[in-house]
């Protein structure tokens, strides 16, 4: 039995608690006080409250970071975890800011509340070091996301996507739980550290391999890695734009954080324990890189293009995880945070364009550089960062990640080959990103009227773009939180 100091538990989970309280507060305010106000006012207030909550959370995390805590081995509070959590919270805040003008929902209070709950789930996932906590937190996150995906009640596609997401997700969650149960059976503990210690004394058994495969299925689903990626294109395409942004950013961060924790936990034992896990990760990585990039080449919908590119990026990150060193873990975290930031920005632009033109097909972006140069400029930065062009952060993140992979001692045989494939695929990816940019800058638009964008959205997008550039030129800005090198 694990004794848990409740006081410590409460203080460690204060940020999550704040979010939960704020979500309830939002519901109260929205359903109680703002009943008669217009949609936009309600949405505005709800989002602002949500952002404030995130802000408070972030401040608390920032001031208490650096203190390594552990609540009975259930939750960890290392600087890296804190960094990831701050990142998640900031991303949620950005998503909320970009949702202020969104018109897909008549229940803004519930929307924001569920978003905040999802965020709380993400933060718990990041800190969790116990199988059950991981599962509970992941379920909190997933259920919230299923709901959010279907939030655009007037859209049949949204409902369909939510259903697909739910069915797929539910099944993979079940598999993962099954795998967790095997691991418990093999080791007698649900604590990651304890599992690692116990496995160190055992050999590799077929049961362990089965368990690992099932856990991989569950987590692979969350990060949209091949062969568990089928939900991603539909969900990215049909969910409301801010929700898609959240799925693409925050939940990725959380899932990769738990993957890193799991892998380093397994790797802290003898090498043999982690070999099969590494093989699984590598297969998923290679498949994701290849499939994601190839499928993106033929897309005509920008959202689906981003979905497949997300699969590809997940592949790159899985490589980093497979290398299982401290540096590669930090590099993966750096990558996923900056990738998430960029993706939020990209979806923000897509939301604006969709609102004006009604569709996210590539051709609706035609002539954007004339219709709204600033918006086009931010999209340029986001897409080039995703492609990995310096001096944007995407390049640096890739460089850091691949350098860490090559330096890892375990990477010997497969490291160079897979990095080479990844770089090659990255070169291919430039093609489809440039296709969008071509529409924006080269192809003359069908209409010349400017695209409306609110000052708030534009300033948020420009802020994100500037951050992407700043981190690209001075990657060291984050090095307090995420050690480089």
């Amino acid at each position: 039995m694990v004794t848990v100091n409740l006081g410590a538990l409460f203080s460690v989970t204060l940020p999550e608690t704040i979010l939960e309280i704020v979500s309830l507060l939002v519901l109260v305010v929205d359903l109680g006080l703002l009943r008669r106000s217009t949609q936009s006012v309600r949405m505005g207030w709800a989002c602002v409250l949500g952002v404030l909550g995130c802000g408070v959370s972030a401040v608390w995390l920032g001031s208490h970071a650096g203190v390594v805590t552990s609540v009975g081995g259930l939750l960890a509070g290392t600087p890296l975890v804190a960094a990831a959590q701050i990142g998640i919270v900031v991303l949620t805040a950005l998503v909320l800011l970009l949702s202020i003008k969104a018109e897909f929902s008549r229940n803004p209070g519930e929307y924001v509340a569920v978003v905040l709950l999802a965020t709380a789930g993400m933060m718990l996932v990041t800190a969790a070091r116990d199988l059950l906590i991981i599962f509970v937190a992941l379920e909190l996150l997933s259920l919230s996301l299923y709901v959010l995906t279907g939030f655009a009640k007037s859209s049949a596609l949204s409902a369909e996507a939510a259903l697909k997401y739910y069915l797929f997700g539910g099944m993979s969650a079940a598999l993962m739980l099954f795998g967790f149960s095997y691991m418990y059976g093999l080791t007698g503990t649900t604590n990651l550290a304890g599992i690692a210690a116990a496995l160190a004394t055992q050999g590799v058994s077929p049961l362990l391999v089965v368990a690992l495969v099932m856990v991989a299925a569950g987590l692979g689903f969350k990060v949209a890695a091949v062969p568990f990626q089928l939900w991603a294109p539909d969900t990215y395409q049909s969910a409301p734009a801010p929700v898609a942004a959240l799925i693409a950013s925050g939940s990725k961060v959380a899932s990769f954080a738990v993957l890193v924790a799991l892998t380093s936990g397994l790797a802290s034992g003898a090498y043999s324990q982690v070999a099969s896990w590494t093989v699984l990760l590598l297969c998923m990585a290679a498949g994701s890189i290849v499939l994601g990039n190839l499928a993106a080449l033929v897309q005509t919908s920008v959202r689906r293009l981003l979905a497949y590119s997300a699969i590809a990026h997940a592949g790159y990150m899985l490589l980093g995880i497979a290398a299982h060193t401290d540096q590669s873990g930090a590099a993966v975290l750096y990558y996923v945070l900056t990738y998430a930031l960029t993706t939020v920005g990209a979806f923000g632009v897509i939301a604006v364009v969709e609102r004006s033109t009604g569709s996210d097909r590539m051709d609706t972006f035609a002539g954007l550089s004339r219709r709204n140069p600033l918006l086009a400029g931010t999209m340029l930065i986001f897409l080039l960062s995703l492609a990995g062009i310096p001096p944007l952060v995407g390049f640096w993140a890739k460089f850091n990640l691949f350098a860490a992979v090559l330096r890892a001692p375990a990477a010997g045989a497969w490291g160079l080959a897979l990095v080479a494939i990844a770089l090659g695929a990255s070169a291919v990816s430039l093609y489809y990103y440039v296709q969008v940019l071509k529409r924006i800058y080269v192809v003359p638009g069908t209409s010349e009227e400017p695209i409306e964008v609110s000052a708030l959205e534009l300033s948020v997008l420009m802020l994100i773009a500037l951050t992407v550039v700043a981190f690209g030129i001075l990657p060291g800005l984050l090095s307090e939180w995420i050690p480089l090198g």
């Binding site: 062009i389 310096p390 850091n400 090659g424 291919v428 430039l430």
Partner: protein, 511 residues
């Protein structure tokens, strides 16, 4: 001082990116001022540093944890190439003076991309930290795409994408090699000089060298990876073609020398076996270079599109550069660097004549169509500029190309005598295609009397603008000056080549 070339260009690009549309016509003036400032900085830096070896320009810690620094330095080779970039930039803007006259021209974007490209190129030539070099190298790719895709002509979107993808693929290959080298050397520095001293195992160098060399050589237009070059150059607007053929291809060759050959000199060593006379990567790449020389020239000989002739001639001339580098002799590498400078100027002049002077006015590049227009009489200025540029391109003594090609052949004689002879053959074919194009375009024997016996009227064209004349004077004058007094550049190049790692210069006596 030299670093200002980079900063001014990027600052200029940023300013132009937010340039109000109402000031369209003034955008080109601003761009020209920035370019002239850059050229002045380059010239000043060149003169101030003459006689010194490597001049340190900047050194700031960037990401100390990874050993990455913002380090700029310029040895003789870099100074010469920076000077070339400055000249090409000013000439390119002068030749693009007609962009900005019409409203829909998007002049500010054009010049913004142009200056961004120039800034990236300056950066590559001045970087000493490999990461920084790679960053600048990649920065240069995106403006190229947009310059061609938006303002280009024949099949511009296809040409732009092909060029961008080839460049990116090449740089991906380079990145793999760099990452591997970085990791092997302990991951604590990316400084070129420091890494060059690290004793990489020969087996490592044997695969890293061809990988990185090929990655850079793709951009240099080495056969058979050259196919992006003619398509891209033809598709590009004049100023972009001038930059692409004149400067950007030199980035590739520079990378071959500065990165591949300096870091992995033992990759050039002979193998333990020999296959059909090929016994080392050096021979392989030299063979590809020579094939490029002859192939480029031969294909140029049968082209009907004037610009394609020049495009393929660029491939042929870059073959000389690569051949010179691979001779591994001081004289050969001197010649290669000088050829980089010389061809940069000459290609600029050629593309300017074909694209800006002829095409803008006649709206055709087809040699058969041009031959009916009596251009020798209708556009005497263009004709004579092309004669001068053609003579320079052929390697006629008195122009810069001759000294460069002589040095390359001298070096090649020692290293690969057979290739030297084939290269000489390439010169002959070079004369042929230049002459053919010149004849058909300007001095054709088109009938001056039509079917009724009346004189065929000579078409009237817009007069040559002051900007065009100034740019022609700049480029032709430089080529002539260097042709007659190459000491100006060789004094900077020779010591820099001497300072290359000793392992690199294996062939023959110092001269």
């Amino acid at each position: 001082m030299l670093a200002y070339t980079i900063y001014l260009s990027f600052a200029g690009a940023l300013v132009l990116a937010v340039w109000p549309r109402a000031w369209n016509a003034a955008a080109r003036v601003f761009a020209l001022l920035v370019a002239i400032a850059g050229l002045a900085a380059a010239l000043f830096g060149f003169v101030a540093a003459s006689g010194q070896g490597t001049v340190a320009v900047a050194d700031v810690a960037w990401i100390p944890a990874m050993g990455i620094h913002y380090t700029l330095a310029a040895d003789g080779i870099s100074r010469v190439l920076v000077l070339l970039t400055g000249l090409a930039a000013v000439a390119g803007i002068l030749f693009s003076w007609n962009i900005g006259q019409k409203d829909g021209d998007r002049a500010n974007e054009f010049f913004a991309f142009f200056l961004a490209l120039i800034g990236g190129v300056y950066g590559v030539f001045l970087s000493v930290d490999l990461f920084l070099l790679f960053v600048f190298y990649e920065i240069a790719i995106v403006p190229k795409y947009f310059l061609i895709a938006i303002w280009g002509s024949t099949r511009r979107e296809y040409g732009a994408m092909k060029l961008a993808l080839y460049s990116f693929a090449g740089s991906a290959m380079v990145l793999i090699g760099l990452l591997a080298a970085y990791a092997t050397a302990g991951s604590h520095t990316m400084n070129l000089y420091a890494l060059a001293q690290y004793p990489f195992p020969v087996s490592f160098q044997m695969w890293a060298f061809p990988l990185v060399f090929t990655g850079f050589a793709i951009l240099a237009g080495m056969w058979p990876f050259h196919t992006w070059a003619p398509t891209g150059h033809v598709a590009a607007p004049t100023a972009a073609s001038m930059l692409l053929a004149g400067v950007v291809m030199k980035l590739g060759a520079y990378g071959c020398l500065r990165v591949a050959m300096t870091l992995f000199p033992h990759g050039l060593d002979p193998w333990r076996f020999s296959f059909l006379g090929i016994d080392s990567w050096r021979t392989v790449f030299a063979l590809l270079a020579v094939i490029g020389i002859v192939y480029g020239a031969a294909v140029a000989l049968v082209q009907n599109d004037f610009k394609f002739v020049i495009g393929y001639s660029s491939v042929s001339h870059m073959g000389f550069v690569l051949l010179g580098l691979l001779t591994l002799t001081q004289i050969g590498i001197n010649g290669a660097v000088l050829q980089m400078f010389s061809h940069g100027i000459i290609a600029g002049l050629l593309f300017a004549t074909v694209g800006r002077i002829v095409y803008e006015r006649t709206h055709t590049r087809d040699l058969s169509a041009l031959s009916k227009l009596q251009l020798g009489k209708a556009m005497p200025f263009a004709a004579w500029v092309f004669v001068i540029a053609g003579m320079a391109s052929m390697g006629l003594p008195g122009f810069s190309g001759f000294i460069a090609e002589v040095q390359v052949i001298a070096g090649a004689w020692r290293a690969f005598p057979l290739f030297a002879v084939i290269a000489g053959l390439g010169i002959v074919v070079g004369v042929a295609y230049t002459w053919r194009a010149m004849q058909r375009a300007f001095f054709s024997d088109a009938p001056t009397l039509d079917a009724n016996g009346a004189a065929v009227p000579i078409p009237q064209y817009e007069p040559i603008t002051l900007a065009e004349k100034a740019a022609v004077l700049l480029l032709a004058g430089t080529s002539l000056l260097i042709g007659l007094y190459p000491k100006l550049l060789l004094d900077a190049i020779a010591p820099a080549v001497e300072a290359l790692p000793h392992a690199l210069l294996t062939g023959g006596r110092p001269w």
